[in-house]
Symmetry: C2
Subunit: 207 residues, 2 copies
Amino acid sequence: MGDGPILHEYAASGNCYKIRLTAALLDMAIERREYDIMKGETRTPDFLAGVNANGRIPVLQIGDRFLPESNAACFWLAEGTHLVPHDRFDRADMLHWMFWEQYNHEPNVATLRFWMRWIGEENLSALQRALIPAKQEAGRAALALMDGHLATHDWLAGQDISLADIALYAYTHVAEESGLFDLGDCPGIRQWIARIEAKPGYVAMAA
Amino acid sequence: MGDGPILHEYAASGNCYKIRLTAALLDMAIERREYDIMKGETRTPDFLAGVNANGRIPVLQIGDRFLPESNAACFWLAEGTHLVPHDRFDRADMLHWMFWEQYNHEPNVATLRFWMRWIGEENLSALQRALIPAKQEAGRAALALMDGHLATHDWLAGQDISLADIALYAYTHVAEESGLFDLGDCPGIRQWIARIEAKPGYVAMAA
């Protein structure tokens, strides 16, 4: 065990994968500690008091300090590297896509994958079931907005891959796993996925 | 009209206020352009094609480029100033609170204010009405988490006010307007609100 960053995670979570992919593209080693969210292992008193009062993974531990929120952890790892644009506007534009991901994309595309594939439609509450059509519509709109941008840009912000691409790749490339989205309609997204997967150091979600 | 940044906004939106408050605390001038979201003025073809394909305000215009997402706009204004911590961990920790705000706080605390005070409970859809209890519970949990942190820290990240405080102040200080939250239970938050409002350059939401 070294003194490098430690990722507290649930490996199948796209939010955790963002951090592993960032580290891999930067050739940085991170230690991994797995928690089973399906068994409530991030809601224990020890986890809430010692790792994250919000009861969620991922959390990136740096020494004795703990950093929740996937996109903030990616920023800690990548600041000053080629994954954060050098230009001031582009750097803020990268953050624009990352905030948009958490507000417009993740609660729809990622939540539906979790509900349909992990929890199972038959185990959802009546309120969750009632939300599926609205989340499907909002997720489709988010994917269409990305696809429109990627029709005329190779990358979401700046001139090369950045944390914006990593943050949005995580749940976009597995969006179809919910059974509610079809990337066949999104040629811009499919070509962008191929560009990301061709980058040196790329690691798959299951790696 | 100068060549400084232009804020495309709806002034009563806390997300827009974050940007005005950041500029005020930095003594930076910004030009303001108002859109009435209640009349759909951010969903017109011209707005979608020219300002923000996502149909939302705020958008910060810098020259001929457009930056959506309130927290990204604040970052563009404040990077390199005292509102962004100098320490690497603290800077990422500031972003942690800003991502948390968009995922855990805004969709509950701000959405309920908008629904109850702007749209009116009687005009909500059945699905929106069904979501009120869950959003109230999640909003209370978010406020309790902030209050717990602020019981032992003057500021959310680092040693002084940062964009994290501005991002969370915007909707926290008006949380009670929905009629569903009570800051009387949150002494840490109330003292933190007073610290923010005492900062030189502070401007109120209605200013």
